[in-house]
Symmetry: C2
Subunit: 329 residues, 2 copies
Protein backbone atom coordinates (compact mmCIF):
# COMPACT_ATOMS: atom_id res chain seq x y z
CA UNK A 1 0.00 0.00 0.00
CA UNK A 2 2.78 2.36 0.98
CA UNK A 3 4.71 1.58 -2.18
CA UNK A 4 1.66 2.04 -4.39
CA UNK A 5 0.94 5.35 -2.65
CA UNK A 6 4.50 6.53 -3.01
CA UNK A 7 4.59 5.62 -6.73
CA UNK A 8 1.37 7.53 -7.23
CA UNK A 9 2.65 10.43 -5.23
CA UNK A 10 5.84 10.56 -7.25
CA UNK A 11 3.90 10.44 -10.51
CA UNK A 12 1.66 13.22 -9.31
CA UNK A 13 4.60 15.39 -8.30
CA UNK A 14 6.41 14.81 -11.59
CA UNK A 15 3.22 15.50 -13.52
CA UNK A 16 2.53 18.66 -11.52
CA UNK A 17 6.06 19.94 -12.08
CA UNK A 18 5.81 19.14 -15.76
CA UNK A 19 2.46 20.91 -16.05
CA UNK A 20 3.88 23.92 -14.24
CA UNK A 21 6.88 24.28 -16.55
CA UNK A 22 4.72 23.79 -19.62
CA UNK A 23 2.20 26.29 -18.33
CA UNK A 24 4.89 28.95 -17.87
CA UNK A 25 6.37 28.23 -21.27
CA UNK A 26 2.95 28.34 -22.92
CA UNK A 27 1.80 31.42 -21.09
CA UNK A 28 4.66 33.51 -22.47
CA UNK A 29 4.79 31.70 -25.83
CA UNK A 30 5.16 34.93 -27.83
CA UNK A 31 8.33 35.90 -25.96
CA UNK A 32 11.64 34.75 -27.46
CA UNK A 33 13.69 32.63 -25.11
CA UNK A 34 16.33 35.00 -23.74
CA UNK A 35 17.18 37.42 -20.97
CA UNK A 36 13.93 39.42 -20.99
CA UNK A 37 11.68 36.37 -20.82
CA UNK A 38 13.92 34.74 -18.23
CA UNK A 39 13.98 37.79 -15.95
CA UNK A 40 10.20 38.11 -16.07
CA UNK A 41 9.62 34.43 -15.26
CA UNK A 42 12.31 34.34 -12.62
CA UNK A 43 10.89 37.45 -10.92
CA UNK A 44 7.34 36.13 -10.88
CA UNK A 45 8.45 32.71 -9.61
CA UNK A 46 10.60 34.17 -6.83
CA UNK A 47 7.94 36.51 -5.44
CA UNK A 48 5.20 33.87 -5.76
CA UNK A 49 7.04 30.95 -4.19
CA UNK A 50 6.35 30.72 -0.46
CA UNK A 51 9.69 28.95 -0.02
CA UNK A 52 11.69 31.67 -1.79
CA UNK A 53 13.71 34.26 0.11
CA UNK A 54 12.01 36.85 -2.13
CA UNK A 55 8.44 35.72 -1.45
CA UNK A 56 5.87 38.54 -1.46
CA UNK A 57 2.37 38.08 0.01
CA UNK A 58 -0.38 38.25 -2.66
CA UNK A 59 -1.81 41.47 -1.16
CA UNK A 60 1.55 43.18 -1.86
CA UNK A 61 2.00 41.63 -5.31
CA UNK A 62 1.09 44.84 -7.14
CA UNK A 63 1.99 45.58 -10.76
CA UNK A 64 1.55 48.95 -12.51
CA UNK A 65 1.45 49.01 -16.29
CA UNK A 66 1.30 51.93 -18.72
CA UNK A 67 -1.16 51.70 -21.62
CA UNK A 68 -0.25 53.58 -24.86
CA UNK A 69 2.85 51.98 -26.38
CA UNK A 70 3.02 49.42 -23.57
CA UNK A 71 -0.18 47.40 -23.99
CA UNK A 72 -1.36 48.67 -27.37
CA UNK A 73 0.14 50.63 -30.27
CA UNK A 74 0.34 54.43 -30.10
CA UNK A 75 1.49 55.12 -33.68
CA UNK A 76 0.83 57.11 -35.79
CA UNK A 77 -1.24 58.53 -32.87
CA UNK A 78 -2.85 57.17 -29.72
CA UNK A 79 -6.34 55.73 -30.22
CA UNK A 80 -7.71 58.37 -27.86
CA UNK A 81 -6.32 61.17 -30.03
CA UNK A 82 -7.84 59.49 -33.11
CA UNK A 83 -11.15 59.21 -31.25
CA UNK A 84 -11.03 62.92 -30.39
CA UNK A 85 -10.29 63.71 -34.05
CA UNK A 86 -13.27 61.63 -35.22
CA UNK A 87 -15.53 63.43 -32.75
CA UNK A 88 -14.15 66.79 -33.87
CA UNK A 89 -14.93 65.89 -37.47
CA UNK A 90 -18.57 65.26 -36.53
CA UNK A 91 -18.67 68.51 -34.56
CA UNK A 92 -17.30 70.53 -37.47
CA UNK A 93 -19.84 68.90 -39.80
CA UNK A 94 -22.66 69.94 -37.46
CA UNK A 95 -21.18 73.38 -36.82
CA UNK A 96 -18.90 74.56 -39.69
CA UNK A 97 -17.95 77.69 -37.71
CA UNK A 98 -15.82 75.42 -35.50
CA UNK A 99 -13.67 74.56 -38.53
CA UNK A 100 -12.23 78.07 -38.44
CA UNK A 101 -10.24 77.11 -35.35
CA UNK A 102 -6.87 75.56 -36.28
CA UNK A 103 -7.25 72.72 -33.79
CA UNK A 104 -10.64 71.66 -35.08
CA UNK A 105 -9.76 72.05 -38.74
CA UNK A 106 -6.59 69.91 -38.36
CA UNK A 107 -8.52 67.32 -36.34
CA UNK A 108 -11.35 67.16 -38.86
CA UNK A 109 -8.82 66.79 -41.71
CA UNK A 110 -7.06 63.91 -39.93
CA UNK A 111 -3.88 66.00 -40.00
CA UNK A 112 -1.97 64.68 -36.98
CA UNK A 113 1.17 66.74 -37.63
CA UNK A 114 -0.59 70.10 -37.76
CA UNK A 115 -2.60 69.08 -34.72
CA UNK A 116 0.53 68.31 -32.71
CA UNK A 117 1.95 71.70 -33.68
CA UNK A 118 -0.92 73.28 -31.70
CA UNK A 119 0.95 72.15 -28.57
CA UNK A 120 -0.38 70.76 -25.35
CA UNK A 121 -2.87 73.63 -24.99
CA UNK A 122 -4.38 72.89 -28.37
CA UNK A 123 -4.59 69.17 -27.70
CA UNK A 124 -6.21 69.78 -24.30
CA UNK A 125 -8.73 72.07 -25.97
CA UNK A 126 -9.56 69.27 -28.42
CA UNK A 127 -9.79 66.60 -25.71
CA UNK A 128 -12.01 68.69 -23.49
CA UNK A 129 -14.35 69.74 -26.30
CA UNK A 130 -14.80 66.14 -27.48
CA UNK A 131 -15.11 64.53 -24.04
CA UNK A 132 -17.70 66.66 -22.25
CA UNK A 133 -21.42 67.16 -22.60
CA UNK A 134 -22.62 63.58 -22.16
CA UNK A 135 -23.51 61.68 -18.98
CA UNK A 136 -20.68 59.28 -18.23
CA UNK A 137 -22.47 56.08 -19.27
CA UNK A 138 -23.47 57.55 -22.65
CA UNK A 139 -19.92 58.71 -23.24
CA UNK A 140 -18.68 55.14 -22.71
CA UNK A 141 -21.22 53.87 -25.25
CA UNK A 142 -19.94 56.42 -27.76
CA UNK A 143 -16.35 55.29 -27.22
CA UNK A 144 -17.30 51.66 -27.71
CA UNK A 145 -19.34 52.40 -30.84
CA UNK A 146 -16.28 54.12 -32.29
CA UNK A 147 -13.89 51.37 -31.17
CA UNK A 148 -16.03 48.68 -32.81
CA UNK A 149 -15.16 50.10 -36.25
CA UNK A 150 -12.20 52.46 -35.98
CA UNK A 151 -8.99 51.30 -37.60
CA UNK A 152 -5.35 52.21 -37.27
CA UNK A 153 -4.73 54.51 -40.26
CA UNK A 154 -1.46 52.75 -41.19
CA UNK A 155 -2.15 49.04 -40.56
CA UNK A 156 -5.88 49.26 -41.32
CA UNK A 157 -6.50 46.96 -38.37
CA UNK A 158 -9.04 47.64 -35.61
CA UNK A 159 -7.40 49.32 -32.59
CA UNK A 160 -8.53 46.33 -30.55
CA UNK A 161 -6.25 44.25 -32.80
CA UNK A 162 -3.30 46.54 -32.11
CA UNK A 163 -2.86 45.07 -28.63
CA UNK A 164 0.57 43.48 -28.04
CA UNK A 165 0.18 39.72 -27.73
CA UNK A 166 3.28 39.23 -25.52
CA UNK A 167 1.97 41.84 -23.09
CA UNK A 168 -1.45 40.19 -22.91
CA UNK A 169 0.31 36.91 -22.15
CA UNK A 170 2.28 38.65 -19.43
CA UNK A 171 -0.88 40.19 -17.92
CA UNK A 172 -2.56 36.73 -17.79
CA UNK A 173 0.60 35.18 -16.35
CA UNK A 174 0.77 37.83 -13.62
CA UNK A 175 -2.94 37.44 -12.84
CA UNK A 176 -2.51 33.66 -12.63
CA UNK A 177 0.19 34.34 -10.02
CA UNK A 178 -2.14 36.55 -7.94
CA UNK A 179 -0.70 39.88 -9.05
CA UNK A 180 -3.05 42.82 -8.72
CA UNK A 181 -2.60 44.74 -12.00
CA UNK A 182 -3.25 48.47 -12.22
CA UNK A 183 -3.36 50.30 -15.54
CA UNK A 184 -1.56 53.65 -15.16
CA UNK A 185 -2.23 55.80 -18.21
CA UNK A 186 -2.09 59.39 -19.37
CA UNK A 187 -5.35 58.66 -21.23
CA UNK A 188 -8.62 59.83 -19.74
CA UNK A 189 -10.53 57.73 -17.25
CA UNK A 190 -13.84 57.69 -19.14
CA UNK A 191 -12.20 56.66 -22.42
CA UNK A 192 -10.09 53.83 -20.97
CA UNK A 193 -12.77 52.45 -18.69
CA UNK A 194 -15.14 52.02 -21.59
CA UNK A 195 -13.17 48.98 -22.82
CA UNK A 196 -10.34 48.06 -20.38
CA UNK A 197 -12.15 45.19 -18.71
CA UNK A 198 -13.28 43.60 -21.98
CA UNK A 199 -10.02 44.11 -23.85
CA UNK A 200 -7.44 43.59 -21.09
CA UNK A 201 -9.33 41.94 -18.24
CA UNK A 202 -8.47 44.93 -16.03
CA UNK A 203 -11.56 46.10 -14.09
CA UNK A 204 -12.69 49.73 -13.74
CA UNK A 205 -11.39 50.19 -10.19
CA UNK A 206 -7.90 49.31 -11.39
CA UNK A 207 -7.55 52.24 -13.82
CA UNK A 208 -5.42 55.24 -12.82
CA UNK A 209 -5.87 57.89 -15.51
CA UNK A 210 -6.21 61.57 -16.35
CA UNK A 211 -9.51 63.09 -15.33
CA UNK A 212 -11.72 65.99 -16.25
CA UNK A 213 -13.14 67.96 -13.36
CA UNK A 214 -16.48 66.39 -12.53
CA UNK A 215 -19.46 67.66 -10.56
CA UNK A 216 -22.38 65.99 -8.87
CA UNK A 217 -25.75 67.55 -9.61
CA UNK A 218 -29.37 66.52 -9.22
CA UNK A 219 -30.89 67.31 -12.63
CA UNK A 220 -34.68 66.98 -12.92
CA UNK A 221 -34.61 64.84 -9.81
CA UNK A 222 -31.90 62.58 -11.23
CA UNK A 223 -28.52 62.40 -9.45
CA UNK A 224 -25.93 62.95 -12.20
CA UNK A 225 -22.18 63.25 -12.65
CA UNK A 226 -21.20 65.88 -15.20
CA UNK A 227 -17.77 66.30 -16.79
CA UNK A 228 -16.74 69.96 -16.67
CA UNK A 229 -14.72 71.58 -19.48
CA UNK A 230 -11.70 71.77 -17.19
CA UNK A 231 -8.79 69.45 -16.46
CA UNK A 232 -8.95 67.80 -13.04
CA UNK A 233 -5.79 65.69 -13.05
CA UNK A 234 -3.15 64.90 -15.66
CA UNK A 235 -1.65 61.48 -15.05
CA UNK A 236 1.79 61.93 -16.52
CA UNK A 237 5.36 61.84 -15.22
CA UNK A 238 5.67 62.42 -11.48
CA UNK A 239 1.89 62.50 -11.16
CA UNK A 240 1.87 58.78 -11.98
CA UNK A 241 3.84 58.08 -8.79
CA UNK A 242 1.61 60.45 -6.82
CA UNK A 243 -1.56 58.77 -8.12
CA UNK A 244 -0.17 55.27 -7.51
CA UNK A 245 0.31 56.17 -3.86
CA UNK A 246 -3.04 57.92 -3.55
CA UNK A 247 -4.96 55.11 -5.19
CA UNK A 248 -3.15 51.93 -4.17
CA UNK A 249 -1.45 52.97 -0.94
CA UNK A 250 1.10 50.20 -1.31
CA UNK A 251 4.25 50.47 -3.36
CA UNK A 252 4.15 48.29 -6.51
CA UNK A 253 6.79 45.58 -6.94
CA UNK A 254 6.56 45.56 -10.75
CA UNK A 255 6.30 48.51 -13.16
CA UNK A 256 6.26 48.46 -16.95
CA UNK A 257 6.26 51.49 -19.23
CA UNK A 258 7.67 52.56 -22.58
CA UNK A 259 8.59 56.23 -22.45
CA UNK A 260 10.29 58.90 -20.36
CA UNK A 261 6.83 59.69 -19.06
CA UNK A 262 7.02 56.42 -17.11
CA UNK A 263 10.36 57.12 -15.38
CA UNK A 264 8.86 58.38 -12.11
CA UNK A 265 6.60 55.31 -11.92
CA UNK A 266 9.63 53.05 -12.41
CA UNK A 267 11.69 55.01 -9.91
CA UNK A 268 8.96 54.92 -7.27
CA UNK A 269 8.52 51.16 -7.77
CA UNK A 270 12.25 50.41 -7.73
CA UNK A 271 12.96 52.42 -4.56
CA UNK A 272 11.15 50.03 -2.21
CA UNK A 273 12.69 47.21 -0.23
CA UNK A 274 12.88 43.62 -1.41
CA UNK A 275 12.74 42.10 -4.87
CA UNK A 276 11.42 44.48 -7.52
CA UNK A 277 11.33 44.67 -11.29
CA UNK A 278 10.96 47.69 -13.55
CA UNK A 279 10.84 47.37 -17.33
CA UNK A 280 10.71 49.57 -20.43
CA UNK A 281 9.29 48.36 -23.73
CA UNK A 282 11.65 49.64 -26.43
CA UNK A 283 10.02 50.09 -29.85
CA UNK A 284 12.77 48.69 -32.07
CA UNK A 285 10.75 46.89 -34.73
CA UNK A 286 10.05 49.07 -37.74
CA UNK A 287 8.74 46.14 -39.76
CA UNK A 288 6.21 44.50 -37.48
CA UNK A 289 5.43 47.67 -35.50
CA UNK A 290 7.14 51.11 -35.44
CA UNK A 291 10.74 51.92 -34.51
CA UNK A 292 11.03 55.03 -32.36
CA UNK A 293 12.66 56.27 -29.18
CA UNK A 294 14.71 59.43 -28.56
CA UNK A 295 13.33 61.73 -31.22
CA UNK A 296 9.68 60.71 -31.10
CA UNK A 297 7.72 63.84 -30.24
CA UNK A 298 4.63 62.43 -28.57
CA UNK A 299 6.14 59.56 -26.58
CA UNK A 300 9.91 59.71 -26.46
CA UNK A 301 12.18 57.23 -24.73
CA UNK A 302 15.53 58.90 -24.10
CA UNK A 303 16.38 59.48 -20.45
CA UNK A 304 14.79 56.13 -19.64
CA UNK A 305 17.33 54.29 -21.78
CA UNK A 306 20.10 56.28 -20.13
CA UNK A 307 18.87 55.46 -16.60
CA UNK A 308 18.11 51.78 -17.27
CA UNK A 309 21.56 50.15 -16.82
CA UNK A 310 22.45 51.77 -13.49
CA UNK A 311 18.96 51.04 -12.14
CA UNK A 312 18.91 47.48 -13.44
CA UNK A 313 15.73 48.19 -15.37
CA UNK A 314 14.85 45.56 -17.95
CA UNK A 315 14.74 47.00 -21.47
CA UNK A 316 12.53 44.82 -23.67
CA UNK A 317 13.71 44.93 -27.28
CA UNK A 318 10.52 44.36 -29.27
CA UNK A 319 12.35 43.13 -32.34
CA UNK A 320 14.62 40.72 -30.49
CA UNK A 321 12.46 39.68 -27.53
CA UNK A 322 9.04 39.22 -29.10
CA UNK A 323 8.36 36.29 -31.43
CA UNK A 324 5.03 37.86 -32.36
CA UNK A 325 3.85 41.42 -31.80
CA UNK A 326 0.15 41.18 -32.75
CA UNK A 327 -1.94 38.02 -32.79
CA UNK A 328 -2.79 38.43 -36.51
CA UNK A 329 0.88 38.42 -37.54
CA UNK B 1 -26.43 2.52 0.96
CA UNK B 2 -28.82 4.91 -0.71
CA UNK B 3 -30.87 5.25 2.40
CA UNK B 4 -27.82 5.83 4.55
CA UNK B 5 -26.57 8.45 2.08
CA UNK B 6 -29.90 10.18 1.97
CA UNK B 7 -30.13 10.26 5.76
CA UNK B 8 -26.66 11.79 5.90
CA UNK B 9 -27.50 14.23 3.18
CA UNK B 10 -30.63 15.33 4.97
CA UNK B 11 -28.73 15.80 8.21
CA UNK B 12 -26.09 17.80 6.40
CA UNK B 13 -28.67 20.04 4.77
CA UNK B 14 -30.52 20.60 8.03
CA UNK B 15 -27.27 21.27 9.81
CA UNK B 16 -26.10 23.67 7.09
CA UNK B 17 -29.38 25.59 7.19
CA UNK B 18 -29.23 25.74 10.97
CA UNK B 19 -25.63 26.93 10.90
CA UNK B 20 -26.54 29.61 8.34
CA UNK B 21 -29.39 31.04 10.42
CA UNK B 22 -27.26 30.99 13.56
CA UNK B 23 -24.38 32.60 11.77
CA UNK B 24 -26.51 35.51 10.58
CA UNK B 25 -28.02 35.97 14.02
CA UNK B 26 -24.60 35.89 15.67
CA UNK B 27 -22.91 38.14 13.17
CA UNK B 28 -25.27 41.01 13.92
CA UNK B 29 -25.64 40.16 17.61
CA UNK B 30 -25.37 43.80 18.73
CA UNK B 31 -28.33 44.84 16.61
CA UNK B 32 -31.77 44.75 18.26
CA UNK B 33 -34.22 42.53 16.46
CA UNK B 34 -36.42 44.92 14.48
CA UNK B 35 -36.86 46.70 11.17
CA UNK B 36 -33.29 47.99 10.77
CA UNK B 37 -31.64 44.64 11.41
CA UNK B 38 -34.24 42.86 9.29
CA UNK B 39 -33.76 45.20 6.32
CA UNK B 40 -29.99 44.84 6.43
CA UNK B 41 -30.11 41.03 6.58
CA UNK B 42 -32.84 40.78 3.98
CA UNK B 43 -30.92 43.05 1.59
CA UNK B 44 -27.66 41.12 1.96
CA UNK B 45 -29.42 37.77 1.57
CA UNK B 46 -31.33 38.86 -1.53
CA UNK B 47 -28.32 40.24 -3.39
CA UNK B 48 -26.10 37.30 -2.37
CA UNK B 49 -28.50 34.48 -3.21
CA UNK B 50 -27.94 33.21 -6.75
CA UNK B 51 -31.57 32.05 -6.85
CA UNK B 52 -32.96 35.43 -5.84
CA UNK B 53 -34.52 37.82 -8.37
CA UNK B 54 -32.33 40.50 -6.81
CA UNK B 55 -29.03 38.60 -7.10
CA UNK B 56 -25.98 40.82 -7.72
CA UNK B 57 -22.67 39.35 -8.93
CA UNK B 58 -19.88 39.66 -6.31
CA UNK B 59 -17.92 42.08 -8.53
CA UNK B 60 -20.88 44.52 -8.35
CA UNK B 61 -21.54 43.98 -4.63
CA UNK B 62 -20.01 47.32 -3.64
CA UNK B 63 -20.67 49.10 -0.35
CA UNK B 64 -19.57 52.66 0.51
CA UNK B 65 -19.39 53.63 4.18
CA UNK B 66 -18.64 56.98 5.80
CA UNK B 67 -16.19 57.02 8.73
CA UNK B 68 -16.65 59.79 11.37
CA UNK B 69 -19.97 59.23 13.16
CA UNK B 70 -20.68 56.12 11.08
CA UNK B 71 -17.90 53.70 12.06
CA UNK B 72 -16.44 55.54 15.05
CA UNK B 73 -17.47 58.39 17.33
CA UNK B 74 -16.96 61.99 16.22
CA UNK B 75 -17.87 63.78 19.46
CA UNK B 76 -16.79 66.07 21.02
CA UNK B 77 -14.57 66.30 17.88
CA UNK B 78 -13.32 63.91 15.23
CA UNK B 79 -10.15 62.02 16.18
CA UNK B 80 -8.36 63.69 13.26
CA UNK B 81 -9.16 67.16 14.64
CA UNK B 82 -7.93 66.03 18.07
CA UNK B 83 -4.76 64.69 16.43
CA UNK B 84 -4.21 68.03 14.68
CA UNK B 85 -4.71 69.82 17.99
CA UNK B 86 -2.15 67.58 19.72
CA UNK B 87 0.35 68.25 16.94
CA UNK B 88 -0.35 71.99 17.16
CA UNK B 89 0.31 71.88 20.91
CA UNK B 90 3.76 70.39 20.24
CA UNK B 91 4.41 72.95 17.53
CA UNK B 92 3.50 75.86 19.81
CA UNK B 93 5.75 74.42 22.54
CA UNK B 94 8.65 74.30 20.07
CA UNK B 95 7.83 77.67 18.55
CA UNK B 96 5.88 79.95 20.96
CA UNK B 97 5.48 82.61 18.24
CA UNK B 98 2.92 80.28 16.62
CA UNK B 99 0.71 80.62 19.70
CA UNK B 100 -0.06 84.21 18.70
CA UNK B 101 -2.24 82.91 15.90
CA UNK B 102 -5.81 82.30 17.09
CA UNK B 103 -6.03 78.90 15.41
CA UNK B 104 -2.87 77.56 17.03
CA UNK B 105 -3.60 79.03 20.42
CA UNK B 106 -7.11 77.49 20.50
CA UNK B 107 -5.73 74.16 19.26
CA UNK B 108 -2.93 74.11 21.82
CA UNK B 109 -5.42 74.94 24.60
CA UNK B 110 -7.72 72.09 23.52
CA UNK B 111 -10.46 74.68 23.01
CA UNK B 112 -12.64 73.01 20.37
CA UNK B 113 -15.34 75.69 20.38
CA UNK B 114 -12.97 78.59 19.73
CA UNK B 115 -11.26 76.51 17.10
CA UNK B 116 -14.54 75.86 15.25
CA UNK B 117 -15.25 79.59 15.33
CA UNK B 118 -12.19 80.06 13.08
CA UNK B 119 -14.32 78.57 10.30
CA UNK B 120 -13.33 76.20 7.56
CA UNK B 121 -10.36 78.36 6.56
CA UNK B 122 -8.93 78.21 10.07
CA UNK B 123 -9.44 74.47 10.34
CA UNK B 124 -7.80 73.91 6.95
CA UNK B 125 -4.85 76.04 8.05
CA UNK B 126 -4.52 73.83 11.15
CA UNK B 127 -4.85 70.58 9.19
CA UNK B 128 -2.31 71.61 6.58
CA UNK B 129 0.24 72.87 9.12
CA UNK B 130 0.02 69.64 11.13
CA UNK B 131 -0.04 67.21 8.22
CA UNK B 132 2.86 68.30 6.02
CA UNK B 133 6.63 68.16 6.33
CA UNK B 134 7.15 64.44 6.81
CA UNK B 135 7.59 61.69 4.23
CA UNK B 136 4.33 59.75 4.04
CA UNK B 137 5.49 56.62 5.88
CA UNK B 138 6.85 58.66 8.82
CA UNK B 139 3.59 60.59 9.01
CA UNK B 140 1.69 57.29 9.35
CA UNK B 141 4.00 56.25 12.21
CA UNK B 142 3.29 59.54 13.96
CA UNK B 143 -0.48 59.00 13.63
CA UNK B 144 -0.20 55.47 15.05
CA UNK B 145 2.00 56.60 17.93
CA UNK B 146 -0.67 59.16 18.82
CA UNK B 147 -3.54 56.70 18.36
CA UNK B 148 -1.89 54.16 20.67
CA UNK B 149 -2.41 56.52 23.63
CA UNK B 150 -4.88 59.26 22.68
CA UNK B 151 -8.21 59.16 24.49
CA UNK B 152 -11.60 60.61 23.85
CA UNK B 153 -11.73 63.67 26.15
CA UNK B 154 -15.26 62.86 27.39
CA UNK B 155 -15.26 59.05 27.75
CA UNK B 156 -11.55 58.74 28.53
CA UNK B 157 -11.43 55.69 26.24
CA UNK B 158 -8.90 55.17 23.46
CA UNK B 159 -10.23 56.32 20.07
CA UNK B 160 -9.74 52.76 18.87
CA UNK B 161 -12.31 51.77 21.50
CA UNK B 162 -14.78 54.33 20.19
CA UNK B 163 -15.60 52.16 17.19
CA UNK B 164 -19.26 51.13 16.94
CA UNK B 165 -19.59 47.41 17.58
CA UNK B 166 -22.77 46.96 15.49
CA UNK B 167 -21.04 48.59 12.51
CA UNK B 168 -18.00 46.33 12.82
CA UNK B 169 -20.36 43.35 12.86
CA UNK B 170 -22.03 44.72 9.76
CA UNK B 171 -18.67 45.21 7.98
CA UNK B 172 -17.68 41.59 8.76
CA UNK B 173 -21.11 40.35 7.67
CA UNK B 174 -20.83 42.21 4.36
CA UNK B 175 -17.28 40.96 3.79
CA UNK B 176 -18.41 37.39 4.52
CA UNK B 177 -20.99 37.88 1.75
CA UNK B 178 -18.37 39.04 -0.75
CA UNK B 179 -19.12 42.74 -0.53
CA UNK B 180 -16.28 45.03 -1.51
CA UNK B 181 -16.29 47.74 1.18
CA UNK B 182 -14.94 51.23 0.50
CA UNK B 183 -14.43 53.77 3.25
CA UNK B 184 -15.56 57.20 2.00
CA UNK B 185 -14.45 59.87 4.42
CA UNK B 186 -13.89 63.61 4.64
CA UNK B 187 -10.80 62.76 6.69
CA UNK B 188 -7.39 62.87 5.06
CA UNK B 189 -5.94 59.90 3.22
CA UNK B 190 -2.66 59.71 5.14
CA UNK B 191 -4.39 59.87 8.51
CA UNK B 192 -7.03 57.23 7.78
CA UNK B 193 -4.71 54.83 5.98
CA UNK B 194 -2.40 54.69 8.95
CA UNK B 195 -4.88 52.48 10.84
CA UNK B 196 -7.86 51.53 8.63
CA UNK B 197 -6.67 48.04 7.80
CA UNK B 198 -5.78 47.14 11.37
CA UNK B 199 -8.83 48.71 12.99
CA UNK B 200 -11.53 48.01 10.38
CA UNK B 201 -10.04 45.37 8.08
CA UNK B 202 -10.39 47.84 5.17
CA UNK B 203 -7.18 47.88 3.08
CA UNK B 204 -5.38 51.04 1.86
CA UNK B 205 -6.68 50.82 -1.72
CA UNK B 206 -10.25 50.95 -0.41
CA UNK B 207 -9.98 54.40 1.20
CA UNK B 208 -11.54 57.40 -0.56
CA UNK B 209 -10.53 60.51 1.38
CA UNK B 210 -9.51 64.14 1.27
CA UNK B 211 -6.01 64.71 0.00
CA UNK B 212 -3.26 67.28 0.22
CA UNK B 213 -1.58 68.18 -3.04
CA UNK B 214 1.39 65.85 -3.38
CA UNK B 215 4.51 66.02 -5.53
CA UNK B 216 7.03 63.45 -6.68
CA UNK B 217 10.66 64.49 -6.29
CA UNK B 218 14.00 62.74 -6.32
CA UNK B 219 15.74 64.05 -3.18
CA UNK B 220 19.41 63.11 -2.73
CA UNK B 221 18.86 60.31 -5.20
CA UNK B 222 15.82 59.02 -3.30
CA UNK B 223 12.41 59.05 -5.07
CA UNK B 224 10.05 60.73 -2.61
CA UNK B 225 6.42 61.83 -2.33
CA UNK B 226 6.01 65.16 -0.54
CA UNK B 227 2.76 66.59 0.81
CA UNK B 228 2.41 70.22 -0.26
CA UNK B 229 0.79 72.84 2.01
CA UNK B 230 -2.21 73.01 -0.32
CA UNK B 231 -5.50 71.17 -0.51
CA UNK B 232 -5.73 68.71 -3.41
CA UNK B 233 -9.23 67.31 -2.96
CA UNK B 234 -11.90 67.71 -0.30
CA UNK B 235 -14.01 64.59 -0.06
CA UNK B 236 -17.28 66.03 1.16
CA UNK B 237 -20.85 66.28 -0.16
CA UNK B 238 -21.11 65.96 -3.95
CA UNK B 239 -17.39 65.24 -4.17
CA UNK B 240 -18.05 61.92 -2.43
CA UNK B 241 -20.19 60.82 -5.39
CA UNK B 242 -17.59 62.16 -7.86
CA UNK B 243 -14.78 60.30 -6.10
CA UNK B 244 -16.80 57.10 -5.85
CA UNK B 245 -17.19 57.12 -9.61
CA UNK B 246 -13.57 58.07 -10.27
CA UNK B 247 -12.17 55.46 -7.93
CA UNK B 248 -14.59 52.53 -8.18
CA UNK B 249 -16.13 53.00 -11.60
CA UNK B 250 -19.14 50.94 -10.59
CA UNK B 251 -22.14 52.31 -8.76
CA UNK B 252 -22.37 51.01 -5.18
CA UNK B 253 -25.47 49.04 -4.15
CA UNK B 254 -25.17 49.92 -0.46
CA UNK B 255 -24.31 53.28 1.14
CA UNK B 256 -24.18 54.16 4.83
CA UNK B 257 -23.58 57.60 6.28
CA UNK B 258 -24.67 59.72 9.23
CA UNK B 259 -24.88 63.34 8.16
CA UNK B 260 -26.11 65.68 5.43
CA UNK B 261 -22.60 65.46 4.05
CA UNK B 262 -23.42 61.90 2.97
CA UNK B 263 -26.62 62.77 1.05
CA UNK B 264 -24.98 62.86 -2.41
CA UNK B 265 -23.35 59.48 -1.76
CA UNK B 266 -26.73 58.03 -0.78
CA UNK B 267 -28.47 59.64 -3.76
CA UNK B 268 -25.85 58.38 -6.23
CA UNK B 269 -26.08 54.87 -4.78
CA UNK B 270 -29.90 54.83 -4.73
CA UNK B 271 -30.30 56.08 -8.31
CA UNK B 272 -29.00 52.90 -9.96
CA UNK B 273 -31.10 50.01 -11.22
CA UNK B 274 -31.93 46.92 -9.17
CA UNK B 275 -32.00 46.31 -5.45
CA UNK B 276 -30.20 48.98 -3.43
CA UNK B 277 -30.01 50.09 0.17
CA UNK B 278 -29.02 53.46 1.61
CA UNK B 279 -28.88 54.07 5.35
CA UNK B 280 -28.26 56.89 7.81
CA UNK B 281 -27.01 56.30 11.34
CA UNK B 282 -29.05 58.63 13.57
CA UNK B 283 -27.29 59.62 16.80
CA UNK B 284 -30.20 59.35 19.25
CA UNK B 285 -28.50 57.94 22.31
CA UNK B 286 -27.34 60.65 24.71
CA UNK B 287 -26.55 58.12 27.39
CA UNK B 288 -24.40 55.51 25.68
CA UNK B 289 -23.08 57.90 22.98
CA UNK B 290 -24.13 61.46 22.03
CA UNK B 291 -27.54 62.66 20.86
CA UNK B 292 -27.30 65.13 17.98
CA UNK B 293 -28.74 65.82 14.56
CA UNK B 294 -30.18 69.04 13.09
CA UNK B 295 -28.34 71.63 15.16
CA UNK B 296 -24.96 69.95 15.40
CA UNK B 297 -22.48 72.34 13.82
CA UNK B 298 -19.73 70.02 12.61
CA UNK B 299 -21.80 67.08 11.38
CA UNK B 300 -25.47 67.89 11.15
CA UNK B 301 -28.20 65.54 10.01
CA UNK B 302 -31.19 67.58 8.92
CA UNK B 303 -32.01 67.40 5.21
CA UNK B 304 -31.05 63.69 5.28
CA UNK B 305 -33.85 62.96 7.77
CA UNK B 306 -36.25 64.96 5.60
CA UNK B 307 -35.28 63.06 2.42
CA UNK B 308 -35.19 59.60 3.99
CA UNK B 309 -38.89 58.57 3.91
CA UNK B 310 -39.54 59.45 0.24
CA UNK B 311 -36.27 57.77 -0.81
CA UNK B 312 -36.88 54.70 1.35
CA UNK B 313 -33.56 55.27 3.14
CA UNK B 314 -33.14 53.25 6.30
CA UNK B 315 -32.68 55.47 9.36
CA UNK B 316 -30.88 53.54 12.07
CA UNK B 317 -31.93 54.75 15.51
CA UNK B 318 -28.83 54.13 17.65
CA UNK B 319 -30.81 54.07 20.89
CA UNK B 320 -33.53 51.74 19.64
CA UNK B 321 -31.67 49.60 17.08
CA UNK B 322 -28.35 48.91 18.81
CA UNK B 323 -28.17 46.59 21.81
CA UNK B 324 -24.58 47.69 22.41
CA UNK B 325 -22.78 50.73 21.00
CA UNK B 326 -19.17 50.03 22.08
CA UNK B 327 -17.70 46.67 22.95
CA UNK B 328 -16.71 47.81 26.46
CA UNK B 329 -20.27 48.73 27.40
Amino acid sequence: MMSLFSTWARLLIISAAFTFNCAVADELASWQPGEAKQRLISFVQQVSDANSAHFVAPSERIAVVDNNGTLWAEQPASPQLLFAMAQAKNMVKANPQLGKQAVFSAAADGDIETLRQQGIEGLLQLFIATHVGLPISQFEDRVNDWLAEAKNPETNRLHTQMVYLPMMELVRYLQANDFDIWLVTSGSLGFVRAWSEQLYGIPPDRIIASELKTEFRVLNGRPSLIHMPEVGFINTGGNKAVAINERIGRRPILAIGNSDDDIAMLQWTSAGDGKRLAALIHHTDGEREWAYDKTESASNLDKGLELAPANDWLVVDMKKDWRRVFDWQ
